[in-house]
């Protein structure tokens, strides 16, 4: 049962073949069995999950109308607040904090009867591509426990690949949903900016952050997308328009007449050979399904990474200023003599990890007087150029595609001392965040050179999220009929306790 898709689980629940309490308990048992190796979870809310499940079962028994995913368990990235449940964003500075409020995503999940199993590991404040920056230890990739599960949402992706949860919530600032999905053989979607409320998402970079669904199939992602998306008056940057019909799009299984734009600048040098070959084969599947392939050029994408590493740290330096030990979180150095200012400095020194401090300092520099125009200001101009590149490309194609990442999962520790090499992981995912458009990663096979999953990225224009689901759903179906079984069936079995 736990290897099923979320929609299959939902169907079994609807037919009363299984109760939500039973389904939840199966997942809690799986977590107990394998999470000591994977370390996807930072906190498992056993009692809370079972009582949510029991509540859904009771409603179902009473014949109440329920959401399509009611009773299905989910893993929540630890960057989302959930009332009364420890929320750390992977940082020591928030150790022990229990928020007094629910994020809008959590409210929506609860309203849909989706059972929250617990909080998943992540790079501290979502800054990283490997979860190695978590203050609470690295998550391991279920495909190879010596490798990274991607980041920042490595915990959410790994929980899906390890069958600890059929659904998960991620957040994506520069690729933190899509890159983990790519390296774990799962599906991850960054919706259009403003499509899902950011209220209760602990901000890394406000103008780039976007929460989205993580799942093992495109349809499951679509179902979760519709459950969490929609206008929220608590988020002034949320879009006040109907959610695109992504579930219907995921079920279309037809791409005839669609134009698929291959972004010239997001392939070639620097991309692993096996990644390229699987990407090309996937394109052929789409051609066979009736799509037309066109090449598009986005010449300014090559500046996206540099602009991103100015904009995101700048906003982060301000967003993370509130962690000062005065109102919540840990407090260090309060010996009765030290002043507030000094205690703040010591707490922030002890509470933040290396990467977070590096980015705070970088962002502080980029915004400081005398450097603003040259750095933050210039990066904002690059952002304009990227928006223009996307506009031109979407005039030529319905969706754009590229490999999600240049490589498959790398070894834990391999890049942790080289920030620039680490940053390159996000080279293909960052442009999407800069322009606020939609992006999806889905698995398109294993790289022949190392046997690890390869991700295929589909990008759609703002509020055209349905198009990426349509193309993703079609491609997934074509590959499934070719493979005969989902890609995760090829993952090595994890030892169970």
């Amino acid at each position: 049962m736990i290897r099923n898709s979320a929609s299959a689980m939902a169907e079994a629940l609807a037919k009363k073949e299984i109760t939500s309490v039973e389904l939840t308990q199966l997942h809690l048992d799986r977590i107990d069995a394998v999470d000591s190796q994977v370390h996807a979870f930072l906190h498992v809310d056993r009692e809370g999950a079972l009582s949510q499940a029991a509540a859904v079962d009771a409603k179902r028994a009473a014949g109440e109308k329920l959401g399509p995913l009611a009773g299905v368990p989910l893993a929540l990235k630890d960057v989302m607040t959930q009332k009364g449940i420890p929320t750390t964003a992977g940082s020591k500075i928030l150790e022990g904090w229990r928020p007094p409020y629910d994020s809008t995503v959590v409210s929506n999940l609860k309203a849909n009867g989706i059972v929250i199993l617990g909080k998943t590991n992540m790079d501290e404040f979502a800054m990283g591509s490997s979860t190695e920056n978590s203050a609470y230890g690295t998550t391991h990739n279920p495909w190879d426990l010596d490798r990274i599960p991607g980041g920042s949402g490595g915990g959410s992706a790994a929980s899906l690949a390890a069958f600890e949860a059929p659904l998960a919530i991620g957040t994506d600032t520069g690729g933190s949903i899509r890159q983990p999905a790519a390296v774990t053989g799962t599906v991850g979607v960054k919706p259009t900016y403003g499509g899902v409320s950011r209220y209760g998402l602990i901000a890394f970079s406000s103008s780039l952050d976007q929460a989205g669904p993580c799942a093992r199939t495109v349809l499951d992602a679509a179902l979760l997308h519709e459950a969490i998306a929609g206008y929220d008056k608590k988020d002034s940057t949320s879009i006040n328009a109907p959610v695109p019909a992504v579930v219907a799009a995921a079920k279309k299984l037809d791409v005839k007449g669609l134009k698929i734009g291959v972004v010239k600048e997001l392939s070639g040098d620097g991309y692993q050979a096996g990644v390229r070959s699987r990407f090309d084969e996937a394109l052929q599947e789409l051609v066979a399904a009736g799509a037309e392939i066109v090449e598009v050029s986005c010449p300014n994408f090559e500046y996206a990474l540099a602009a991103y590493y100015l904009i995101a740290p700048s906003e982060a330096s301000s967003n993370l200023a509130r962690f000062d030990s005065m109102r919540y979180g840990i407090r260090v150095g309060d010996d009765g003599n030290a002043g507030a200012e000094e205690v703040m400095k010591i707490t922030r020194e002890v509470g933040f990890g290396k990467e977070v401090k590096r980015r705070i300092i970088l962002g502080t520099y980029a915004l400081s007087s005398g450097y603003y125009d040259a750095y933050y200001g210039s990066a904002q101009k690059v952002r304009t150029l990227i928006v223009q590149d996307f506009a031109k490309a979407f005039a030529q194609a319905d969706v754009l595609v590229s490999p999600t990442c240049p490589t498959t999962a790398f070894k834990i520790g391999e890049k942790s001392d080289d920030p620039l090499a680490m940053y390159l992981n996000d080279i293909a995912t960052i442009p999407v965040n800069m322009a606020g458009v939609g992006g999806m990663s889905l698995p398109v096979g294993l790289s022949p050179d190392d046997g690890l999953p390869v991700g295929f990225q589909i990008m759609s224009a703002a509020m055209k999220d349905d198009l990426m689901y349509q193309v993703g759903g079609t491609l997934e179906a074509a590959l499934l009929s070719k493979w005969g079984a989902p890609i995760l069936s090829q993952a090595p079995a994890l030892a169970t306790k």
């Binding site: 928020p99 409020y101 002034s236 301000s318 200023a321 000062d324 915004l367």
Partner: protein, 499 residues
């Protein structure tokens, strides 16, 4: 020998700059739905947003935007077609996010002016104070310092924070530099803040209570030798909490700076704090190093782009300017300058106007409020308006007019009302104060009504009883609602031979 104010102005020319912070009186905060009540129990008006909890996001209070635009319009500003919030980044424990959501290079209103009138050696003179900008921001929390010898910031053992005030909408009004005020600089500063306060009050956008901090003034002062054509280094004086303090702070700072310059000392560009007791200023405690606010556009909020329709709709609701209203009332009531100034200074203009609108004679209304009632209010150290209502004062004045009360008896009635014995009628009843108990006073009014409407009277004489309503109404109006309508009817009909 230290220089006096007169010595200072003989040699130096002051330049002023005033920054006024106004707390808007919206029901909810700038960026969240928490209440804004003054004096609530600590931390009872807080939520994830105004506590800066991780994950929370601001949402702009539309009423605060409207109030800001109204202020800009009242100050003759241009309303920016595009304005934005920005983050002002600096750390301070009473600021929950460690940045203040404010406006930087894109404020909502720019380039206005306010004319203020002051009394000079050559009579009343108008100074034009130019406004550079009006922008929106949020207030901080309040800290309480515990322990140490004085309880002041230094020597405190720890501090306690209450965030009820955090996030209350603030509007900051910044003048351009104000040159050429000479020895009148302190009065101009005071007159500007007074006029601004009156405008804000007339707009109904703020409580404008300086003592509660809903109106706060920072005064920038610099001196240069007369005729030098230079601009001196300025100091910024904070903590100026009353109109009188504005005047004292400016003159105190002029004297302090003149004395330093006289000794050949440099003026340091710094923040200073006004000391209410001595009228002097002390230097603020400077931070170890200069801050760099690293402003950037607030990514959690979207731009404010008011269109012309919205602005014009708001402009149409602007009330009469306080300065124009004073001119009008002065003419209507025929009040001498000095009396007018007394009323304004005593903050009784609204009250007197209200009393007059209830039918009282302007001169009498003024003299009651400024005289007897103010005297009693002073004794009790409260505001006159808290003792008695304009309607009650109007009633007493009407009773005098009808001869029911003498001035002496009226004072007893007022005193009775103030000591809580009830309405004027109840006081009269209880104390048995009424002079005239027969119907003669009413008859005077009835005869006046008949004289004014002879036709109606004729119809009543002819038996048209319902026509009496018009005359009864006139009598009621003339007596300020004082008379008993049934009694009026009885007397009227009898007088016209209909009973």
């Amino acid at each position: 020998m230290a220089l006096t104010f007169n010595d200072a102005i003989a040699k130096y020319e002051p330049t002023l700059g005033l920054e006024v912070h106004v707390e808007l009186n919206t029901l909810s905060k700038m960026f969240c739905g928490c209440a804004t009540e003054f004096g609530a129990e600590p931390n009872t008006q807080t939520c994830p947003v105004c506590l800066g909890l991780p994950g929370s996001l601001p949402a702009v209070n539309g009423k605060a935007i409207e109030s800001s635009i109204l202020i800009g319009l009242a100050l003759n500003c241009s309303i920016a077609p595009f304005s934005r919030f920005a983050r002002k980044n600096y750390f301070y424990p009473d600021m929950p996010k460690n940045f203040q959501t404010s406006q930087f290079d894109e404020p909502i209103c720019v380039n206005g002016y306010l004319d203020v009138e002051i009394e000079t050696d050559e009579g009343m003179k108008v100074f034009r104070v130019e406004i550079e900008r009006v922008h929106m921001e949020e207030d901080t929390g309040k800290s309480l310092h515990v322990g140490g010898a004085t309880g002041r910031i230094h020597g405190a053992e720890y501090s306690l924070l209450d965030y009820n005030r955090a996030g209350i909408p603030l509007v900051e009004i910044v003048t351009k530099i104000i040159p050429g005020t000479g020895k009148y600089a302190p009065q101009v500063a005071r007159a500007y803040v007074t006029e601004l306060r009156d405008i804000l009050r007339s707009l109904g956008v703020s409580d404008v209570k300086m003592e509660q901090g809903s109106l706060r003034c920072d005064a920038n002062v610099s001196l240069a030798e007369i005729g030098s054509g230079k601009l001196g280094t300025r100091s910024e004086t904070k903590n100026v909490n009353s109109l009188r303090s504005v005047e004292r702070a400016v003159s105190g700072e002029m004297v302090r700076q003149a004395n330093r310059l006289e000794k050949g000392e440099r003026i340091i560009q710094e923040t200073r704090h006004f000391l209410e007791e001595s009228g002097e200023t002390r230097p603020g405690r400077s931070k170890e190093q200069a801050e760099d606010y690293r402003y950037f556009p607030e990514p959690d909020l979207v731009p404010v782009t008011p269109d012309a329709d919205w602005i014009e709709t708001l402009r149409a609701t602007l009330p009469e300017k306080p300065s124009l209203r004073r001119k009008r009332l002065k003419a209507e009531w025929n009040v001498p300058d000095k009396e007018m100034t007394s009323m304004v200074n005593a903050e009784l203009l609204d009250t007197v106007e209200e009393t007059v609108l209830l039918g009282a004679d302007p001169t009498k209304a003024r003299s009651w409020w400024l005289g007897e009632i103010s005297r009693l209010a002073n004794e009790k150290e409260v505001a006159p308006i808290s003792l008695i209502t304009p309607a009650q004062v109007a009633e007493v004045i009407a009773l005098i007019a009808f001869g029911d009360l003498t001035d002496k008896l009226a004072r007893q009635v007022v005193e009775g009302v103030i000591s809580g014995e009830g309405t004027p009628a109840e006081v009269i009843e209880k104390r048995g104060l009424k002079v005239v108990s027969d119907d003669s006073a009413l008859m005077v009014a009835i005869e006046a009504a008949i004289a004014a409407q002879p036709d109606t009277a004729e119809r009543i004489r002819g038996g048209n009883i319902p026509a009496a309503g018009a005359l009864i109404g006139a009598v009621m109006k003339a007596t300020g609602g004082q008379a008993d309508a049934a009694k009026v009817r009885e007397l009227l009909l009898k007088h016209l031979g209909q009973s």
